[in-house]
Structures are given as structure tokens and as C-alpha cells.
Symmetry: C2
Subunit: 325 residues, 2 copies
């Protein structure tokens, strides 16, 4: 069994002993995935290595301002012309999460696996896994301490982005004392925290705000005030010009109402199917609730799919909630 410190040293060795690397992260990259990819790219360039950064898909537009994020190749648009032997996977909970990028791994590829997900099974040749890290960015910050490199605002900004997004702006339960200490060090390197919070957490698009408005207009509460829910239909989506990603976070508005224990977002798929996203304020296990409908998730955040008309689905879920008090 290796300790975390030994793993960091083995990672350092891996980064020193090859000359040419492929850096990948998970499909549908989030803030921490992009942050980790460009941070690793920056380290490799500091070490004088050649490297290629690819992702199966597109980098979200709100992260493109990051140092070297434009150098992450969308492999669907610009497939690499060769395969790679030394691979670095960042923020990939399991190997399948690298998606189609694996076709650019040599058959005898060796992999450095850096991740913070507790379910990571250590699929790499070298593994740096710290499951109590809030973000892969937090692990990379510690890995970078082993190298004689000069921090600047750009790279500190990249690392801060991973911390900020994976902790929901220092609000989730993973916001440890170490997260705040690392954030403090990064701010000392000149990170513009308010700008990042605005760009990455607060900025919304017009379709997002329109669909939020639609959802809030449909808000209903149970008589006892413990359950709140909203409904969005395909017609609402079309009218607002909204895509699925624009729905993110809407369910929180239901759960955040004072006194509400369960907040639910019902998304009508068609006349006979509804998706429900469930959020709990703490008293109710919504994963168990979702499981009764064949869904799943976490204690505080879960989801399920229901067959039937939306009115029936709402009734079914509310009835089930009422058995849980």
C-alpha cells in the first residue's frame, strides 16, 4: 500500500521519465476537468516536455478564457494523427470516462491516473488518488509543490477554477480547511477570485433565465410547505430556446425555500414520460425515494424516470414522499 506522499513522488517520477505525453480528462468536461488538463499541460511545458491535450468533446465556452484551454483539442473536430505511449488521465473516476480518446492510447500505453473520486479503482500504471480532496485541482496543487516552478497568475487561475467549481463556490461539504488554505495561496499568486466567481458561477444566458422564469411560474407547494416542485414541458423549452444544460440548478430553487424538505423538478419528456430531479434539505433520503421508481443517486440529490402523464407522476411522487416522514 502506497501512501499519498509516495504516490505523489511516483507521479513526479512518471512526469520526469518520459518525453512525450497525452493528457486527457473525462467526457463532457466540467470546471475541474478543464482546470486539471491545462494545469498538467502547463507543468509539462515547464518541464520541457512535448505534450498533446485532447478531449472527446468541446470545452464549455465559459472556461475558454483559461490559460491554454484553447490548446485542448476537440478530437471529434481535429483527430490526432498518431497514438501515444505515456498517458495522463486527470479527474476520470473510471477508465471508461476518458471516452473515445482511448483510441489514441498505444496498446502498451502506461497511464498516470490522478483523481479525487472515491470510486476510482486505480486503473493507472501509477495512481495518485486522494478521495478527500475536493477537486483534482487540489491534488495537482500538491503535486506542483514537488517541482521547482514559478507560479504565475495564469496557472493559479487554472487551479483555482477547479477548486471553485467542484466546491460550488466554497459551499459544498467538500470545502475542507485545506481547500481554503490552497485557495488562499492561489489568491496570493494574483487570482481574480471575483471575476472567476462571476464568470463561472453567476453568469447566466438568456435562455437559462427564461427557462428559470418558466419553472418558477409553475412553482407549487404541498399544504404543509415541506415539498415544493416545478414542472417544465417540451413547449417551455422550445419557447425559451433552452437546452438541457440550461436546466442545471433550477431544482435548487425549490429546495432552497425556507421550510422545504424536498424540492422536485419535473421535466416532461413526452406525453408518457417524466424525469424527476429530487433534492433533500437533509431529513429525507431522496436516493431511497428515487429507488422506489427505479432511479437512484445520493441521499441529498437523486433522480428517476416515471411513465405516464405529468399530473399522475407528480401525484405518485408526492404520495411516496408522504410515506417517508
Amino acid at each position: 500500500m502506497h501512501t499519498y506522499e509516495q504516490a505523489l513522488q511516483a507521479g513526479k517520477q512518471f512526469l520526469l521519465e518520459h518525453d512525450d505525453y497525452l493528457v486527457v480528462s473525462h467526457v463532457q468536461p466540467d470546471g475541474d476537468a478543464v482546470s486539471s488538463t491545462v494545469t498538467m499541460g502547463w507543468l509539462l511545458s515547464c518541464l520541457g516536455k512535448t505534450f498533446t491535450m485532447i478531449n472527446e468533446g468541446e470545452i464549455p465556452s465559459r472556461m475558454r478564457f483559461l490559460y491554454h484551454a484553447d490548446a485542448i483539442v476537440n478530437m471529434t473536430e481535429q483527430p490526432p494523427e498518431r497514438k501515444f505511449k505515456a498517458i495522463i488521465c486527470v479527474d476520470c473516476a473510471d477508465f471508461a470516462r476518458v471516452g473515445l480518446t482511448r483510441q489514441y492510447f498505444e496498446e502498451d500505453a502506461i497511464i498516470l491516473n490522478i483523481d479525487h473520486h472515491p470510486t476510482n479503482n486505480g486503473y493507472g500504471s501509477v495512481n495518485i488518488i486522494k478521495s478527500d480532496a475536493a477537486a483534482t485541482a487540489e491534488i495537482l496543487f500538491e503535486l506542483l509543490q514537488l517541482f521547482d516552478i514559478t507560479w504565475d497568475k495564469d496557472i493559479a487561475t487554472a487551479v483555482y477554477t477547479g477548486l471553485l467549481t467542484d466546491t460550488g463556490g466554497f459551499r459544498y461539504a467538500n470545502t475542507s480547511p485545506n481547500v481554503m488554505t490552497v485557495a488562499s495561496r492561489l489568491l496570493e499568486h494574483g487570482v481574480d477570485g471575483p471575476y472567476l466567481a462571476q464568470t463561472l458561477l453567476e453568469e447566466v444566458t438568456l435562455p437559462q433565465i427564461r427557462i428559470l422564469n418558466k419553472a418558477l411560474s409553475s412553482l407549487q407547494m404541498s399544504e404543509d410547505g415541506r415539498v415544493a416542485w416545478v414542472v417544465i414541458t417540451p413547449e417551455d423549452m422550445q419557447e425559451c430556446g433552452a437546452a438541457n444544460e440550461d436546466l442545471e440548478g433550477i431544482v435548487n430553487y425549490t429546495r432552497n425555500i425556507r421550510g422545504v424538505e424536498v424540492g422536485i423538478f419535473f421535466k416532461v419528456i413526452n406525453d408518457n414520460a417524466v424525469k424527476a430531479s429530487l433534492r433533500s434539505a437533509g431529513k429525507i433520503d431522496v436516493a431511497a425515494l428515487a429507488q422506489t421508481f427505479g432511479g437512484g443517486g445520493h441521499v441529498l440529490a437523486a433522480g428517476c424516470r416515471l411513465e405516464g402523464k405529468v399530473e399522475e407522476s407528480v401525484e405518485k411522487v408526492l404520495k411516496q414522499v408522504n410515506t417517508q416522514w
Copy 2:
């Protein structure tokens, strides 16, 4: 000229040399005011002093969970029966901010003034003013280091509350490296950061969410997408059961839309008066804008009052914005 360290030492001396204190903060207390008041009360009880904490008004309900917040006396309801000689004013930018509590100061009262507002003129007998502190709580954290006291979760929670609320959840420009270091230390003392973020920053009441929905339903954008605005009428307020405090933060929804440079919240007062709250994304000085209508504020956040019907007022303000590009 005293250094900050000398001021802290003088403050320590003040707290040691008397036996009985009155602790006050500003009228309409916010998170930092309540945080600072109870933190000071806790320190005085550690020192074995007698003390009374009062405020001109009520403590906001969402802060009443704080350790000893229920011991802060609303002087309108329970006027103290005597006056005090040794006064501690926390988070009061100027002396007038203590409001009606001053009637309980002896004529020859001596005041310890602890504050982070840059405009504080040092009205105390002893002054601890650090204008680059994000919150008075941050100064109190440093003052507490001078005493041999044992931190626990309750008092760390009180201090964290001031930091969290005065930095908008670690998102405002005052979120310095020191803020994050202090936050880290407080989390080590067992603060439940996610609970505080939920209770103090994310929780909304039903009237709040209803009036937000009304406002978003009125959302309009200029043709070039650089100005967004919403309008709330007295009828909306009544229909939603909303009070003025429920409007806080709504203007940010307009400013947070991607591409928007100026976000405006128009609140109709009556048929002939409108209040406008202005927010800038950075390019436009909304204080200057507000000044042309007799208002004022900061570069990024300002307000003014306009005479006339709301349609005319909207037109006037938009016209003025268009002269500013």
C-alpha cells in the same frame, strides 16, 4: 500614528481594564454586525467580565441560530435599565450608526471602536480599524489571537458568519488571501460551512421567490443586449406578500446575464415616482449614471429616484446609459 498591531494591543488593554461593558453594532444589523457582537460577547465572558449586548432593532431571523444571538437585546422591546461607561462598538462605520443605543452611553463613556470600513473616522477612545479587512469578524479573529482562549465550534461559527456574509460567500473583491486563511482555521475548529452557506446565502422565503418570479417575468433587454431591466410594482409586492427586504439580490439577475453591461431594477413607488437600482459588469460607471438623476453609489452598484411614470423613467435611464458607451 499607531500601527494595526499597536491598536490590537490597545484594544486588548481596554478589554482587560474594565469590568462591565456594553456591546453595540449598527442599526439594521447584517451578518457581520451580529457576528461581531456575539463574538465580542463570547470574548468578554471568557474574560469573566459582565456585559450587555444591545441593538436598536431586531436580529434577522436567519441569524438567530448563532451562539448567544438571542442574548442581543432589542432595546425597543427591552430597554436597558441603566447606562454604561465602557462601550464597544463593532462594525459601525460612523458613530451615528449605533442609532438609538447611544442613549445608554454615559456622558463620559469611553469607546472601543472596532471596524473595517475605510470611511471610519476613529470616533473611539481606542480604535482598531483595518480598512482592508473584509469584515469586522476578520479583525476580531486577529484580536482573539492575543488572548489565551479555547476555540470551539460555536464561536468559530460566529466569526465565519461575518466573513461569509460580508464577502458574499467568498465572491466579492474583498476576498483576500487572509480571508481564506482565516476561513481555513475556522473550518478546522469544526464550522459547518455548507450549512451556513445554505442558511445565510441560499435560503429564500416564499415571498422572495414569488417576487423574483414577477421580476423575471418583466425582464426586458435592449436590442444590443447590453442593458437588461426588470420592473416591480406595488401591486406585484402585494400579490406576492413581499416586503422591501425580499427584493434584495433581484437586480443581480439582470446584471448576470451574459453580455449585459448594465442591469437595472425599477421599483415603482407610486404613479409618479420610481426607484432604480443599477449594477454594472465593469465597463460603465453606474455611480456617475445615478448622479445625473440626483442619486449616487459605487462604480459597480448605484441607485437613484426618478419622478414620473415608470415608462418615462425607464426611457430616461436607458437614454442616459446610451450616452455612456
